[in-house]
């Protein structure tokens, strides 16, 4: 199997990361941020600064004071008020970090604190003046199929649950950063940008320049997970502003605490589910109310919510369905794109709810869920015909064979009286690519294959390598079609001056959609191979012709296709401390036919552990608008000792529209791990879990309640 071409350089730490770059005369930039979640700014006092040092405020912005994400409502630098703790107010630029700190210590900002909107309840109640619009509703979307109210009336039993999930920080090992270099009337911005294409657009607004004067050059990305998409708009604008004012190269590198407390993360959620069950113990109707806790500005919450709602019913078919979602504004940073994109939360809620219902009905929770799984030819919750074969039964069979789930479930003795063991399983699906037909998002996203005069092939695109291995996969696809050695095919980090705008990496599109573009381009290139000299083939993505989508009514093929999966998680729980240890993880996925098994398995391993961290230990809480676990010693992600060896398999189910039958893999394995973990804890202790993360503090409450009642 092909070894990724960046492996050796990465082992040596010399793979072209931004931290290997330096420019003559480069200045460091520090951001002065609000300590208050909501306050008016009465006055700002800046001390006299030495020559060569700069303090920059919103009046130094030559263009408009806007950091454009999806809407233009977020000021790049706060003017007379701040709406979240950590909001940027000033920049300090200069050559020496300790002198910058001295300036920082001399700055006095007089605030007038106001009562912040903190919780989902605060946002919907309206007692505190709204943060966003008149009602704090950043976005709402919903749909209904069938007649839900009637079905509830006709149901034999109705079950209702409420679930909560917390923030999750992406925790890429390389924090957000950018270097802006002004030269000859242009601005070049270097850094780890998941979607380099947004940089020229974002930077053009505060500079008041045309986008063609701005160039983004991507440096090797030290992890992203969705956290280096919309968030790069702000850091690149701040860097470019500093470079514009100082006319020097400016480097802005967030330290870890700054990165955790002031950049996007997974949306916290409150999800209410009501289901009606008929006399045959089948679900007749489901109503889901999904509320995502958003930030003080529009951010990208609407897009995440869209995915939550469209994927809310997971891999199941319900005749009568109502899904309503809202993203509500609070005085916090804007959560945003995060691996699993709004579906981790809904999957935890739905899986846990269905298992609870099964337990109350006296049915095996896995059998109950399997009985509701979609089949080929069924209609999805958005009323589209499901064209693909659904191999969830094969997937579950594979997980059961690896894990012994059915043999272990409900009958595991602990090692002694103070330890209980349990096992749980979750089923899930993830739609990708998003169908864009009929929406404004359907802009061209081309890429180019160029054969040089010497017969080598270069792939030109702004699709970014985040570590997932997309460069290797694209090279493999091209190599298979062109029938030339993979070593003769190359793909560099993007440069917006050089590359066509493919709109970067995100939404699990890379392999399925753009890998297919590579395949088509390679076929055309092969047809022209005998032409002399340099040849270029440009290909845009193509949506399958059969898709139908009505964005207004939320009806039709919400996605081109779906990946499917199941994961079993085994735990032991210390009854004295309520600490949970993960002792086994087994997963199987249908991602079509993988291009490169090793890379695909790597995606699954990492995503599972990210999902387990979310479910188990990653606590990030707001106390009155201030995030409490901003330092890495307090925000705990899994170490090697917290996770056992992972076993996994792929159930092959080639996708006719994907390159060599491949579907997406990047996000789906994140989705079910926390749900399976919750089920495992429920199995071990005979309790019902309603919240993530399942901290020992939370579990102790549940265990004490059970001890008291028994």
């Amino acid at each position: 199997m092909t070894v990724r071409d960046d492996a050796w350089a990465k082992c040596c730490g010399k793979a072209g990361y931004m931290d290997e770059l330096s420019f003559p005369g480069m200045l460091h930039v520090m951001v002065v941020r609000s300590p208050f979640p909501r306050a008016g700014i009465r006055s700002v006092h800046v001390p006299a600064v030495a020559s060569g040092y700069y303090v920059i405020d919103s009046t130094d912005i030559p263009g408009r004071n806007i950091c454009a994400i999806l809407r233009q409502d977020f000021p790049l630098l706060a003017e007379d008020r701040v709406s979240f703790a950590g909001q940027a107010i000033l920049l300090i630029a200069g050559p020496e970090r300790d002198r910058i700190l001295e300036i920082y210590d001399g700055i006095r900002i007089d605030y007038e604190p106001e009562e912040p909107v903190i919780t989902i309840e605060d946002a919907e109640e309206g007692r505190i003046p709204p943060v966003f619009g008149t009602d704090n509703v950043i976005a709402s979307i919903g749909f209904e199929r069938g007649d839900v109210e009637k079905a509830f009336i006709e149901s034999a039993r109705v079950f209702e649950d409420e679930f909560r999930t917390g923030y999750q920080e992406h925790l890429y090992l390389e924090t957000l950063r950018a270097i802006a270099v002004p030269e000859k009337g242009r601005m070049t911005v270097y850094g780890p940008f998941q979607i380099p294409d947004i940089v020229p657009v974002a930077v053009s607004i505060p500079l008041g320049w045309n986008t063609d004067r701005i160039r983004a050059r991507v440096t090797t990305i030290g992890g992203a997970f969705g956290g280096k998409m919309e968030t790069t708009a702000q850091i690149t604008c701040l860097g470019a502003l500093a470079a514009y004012v100082t006319q020097r190269p400016c480097s802005i590198v967030y330290d870890r605490e700054e990165d955790i407390t002031t950049t996007s993360k997974r949306h916290p959620s409150r999800i209410r589910i009501k289901s009606g069950v008929d006399h045959n113990k089948r679900i007749r109707a489901v109503k889901m109310d999904i509320d995502l806790l958003g930030g003080a500005y529009f951010g990208s919450s609407a897009v995440v919510l869209d995915s939550s709602v469209k994927m809310a019913t997971g891999p199941y078919r319900f005749e009568n369905v109502s899904v309503r979602g809202r993203a509500l504004a609070t005085n916090h940073i804007m959560p945003g794109a995060t691996r699993g994109f709004g579906v981790v939360q809904t999957t935890f809620a739905l899986e846990t709810h269905m298992s609870r219902v099964a337990r109350q009905l006296g049915i095996d929770p896995l059998d109950f869920r399997l009985g509701h799984v979609l089949k080929q030819g069924d209609r999805t919750s958005t009323d589209a015909v499901l064209r693909d074969q659904v191999k969830i039964p094969e997937i579950v069979k594979s997980v059961d064979a690896m894990s012994g789930y059915r043999a272990k479930r409900g009958r595991q003795a602990g090692s002694d009286a103070t330890v209980k063991r349990g096992i749980g399983i979750a089923l899930y699906s993830f739609g990708a690519p998003h169908t864009v037909k009929g929406t404004l998002r359907g802009r061209p996203r081309p890429l180019i294959l160029r054969r040089t005069g010497s017969g080598d092939v270069v792939i030109l695109t702004t699709i970014t390598e985040l570590g997932q291995g997309i460069v290797t996969v694209f090279r493999e696809i091209a190599s298979r079609i062109l029938d030339i050695p993979i070593e003769r095919i190359s793909m560099d980090n993007p440069d917006t001056d050089r590359d066509p705008s493919t709109m970067g990496t995100g939404a699990s599109l890379g392999v399925t959609l753009f890998g297919k573009s590579v395949e088509r381009a390679a076929r055309k290139l092969k047809d022209r191979w005998d032409e002399p000299g340099e040849i270029e083939v440009m290909e845009d993505y193509v949506e399958p012709g059969y898709l139908e989508w009505d964005d207004k009514r939320v009806v039709g093929d919400a996605f081109h296709t779906y990946s499917w999966g199941a994961v079993a998680v085994e735990v032991s729980v210390d009854l004295l401390t309520c600490e949970v240890q993960v002792t086994g993880v087994w997963a199987a996925h249908d991602i079509g036919r993988p291009i490169n098994d090793r890379l695909a398995e790597g995606q699954v391993d990492g995503a599972l552990v990210q999902g387990l961290g979310f479910g188990l230990m990653e606590v990030l809480e707001s106390a009155e608008g201030i995030l409490q676990q901003g330092r890495l010693r307090d925000y705990a992600i899994p170490t090697m000792r917290d996770i056992p060896a992972i076993r996994q398999s792929f159930v092959i189910n080639p996708y006719s529209e994907g390159p060599f039958g491949a579907k997406s893999v990047g996000e789906i394995p994140t989705i079910g791990a926390a749900a399976a973990l919750g089920e495992a804890v429920a199995d071990a202790l005979g309790i019902e879990v309603g919240r993530l993360p399942i901290t020992p503090e939370y579990l102790l409450d549940l265990v004490r309640a059970k001890e008291t009642s028994s």
């Binding site: 004295l576 401390t577 090697m640 000792r641 917290d642 503090e697 102790l700």
Partner: protein, 292 residues
Amino acid sequence: MKDTALRPRDLKEALILRRETGGILYAGGTDLMIRSARWGTVSADAGRPVIFIGHLEELRQVATEPGFLVIGACATLSSLRDHPGVPVLLKRIIGSMASPAVRNMATMGGNVCNASPAGDTIPYLLAMNGTVLCASTDGQKEIPVNEFISGPGMTILAPDEVVTGFRIPRYQFDHEFHKKVAARRANALAKASIVGLARKIDHRLVDLRLAFGAVGPKVVRSPDCEQALIDSLSGTNGRHEREEILAAVLKRYARILSPIDDQRSTADYRGTVVIRLARHFLKEVLGLSHQP
């Protein structure tokens, strides 16, 4: 450039520099560097220089004296873990601290002088009746660990003194119990911790010690409670009486503890969990683990 740090050649010179400057002592640096760092820069506190002492051989030794183990303040945690003379329980506690690379730098001197209520080695030292050895140009002092630590982050170390090591009685116990409760299984600060030690002669409890970490401003130990438990196993107390005494003592412990809510855990969880752990340990010691 004014020197912000001093590097003595030996302990004698270190003591003179400490007397002259009152400088901040740098042993392994793993706490000091984090505490002093801001935005990638590290600066000394209020004009006081830093005195590097981690390299001083006199402070890096592990020695046995009759009845005692003496651990140098600047012996790294890794070196203690590898040392044949260090008791197994202390090695286990060290193994629960930070990560291997940090343990290669960090010292027991730093852990104790940092005086965090969550400091991992402090409950052990307290339970073992360990003492802190302090030196100055005037001579040596030996201070019980819970007198040495005067509050969270505070010690009574005088500005001219240096901690040179710890003196720990070599004493065998039949029951040794340690549990650190933390957010994850490695590389984590304690939410709470407990060390329990007990010694029996002919089923008679002759010694019992319990120390609790991170449930108060200082590590907690109660001689009164310990004595009550020792007494419960003497005389003619039956199982029922012993259970009643245990319940009463655990209530007393719960009153002594004063845990707090912070970014790592809650007061409720900390207080509840250490009592659950103490009950588990004491039931075993008092022969109450199994139903009759």
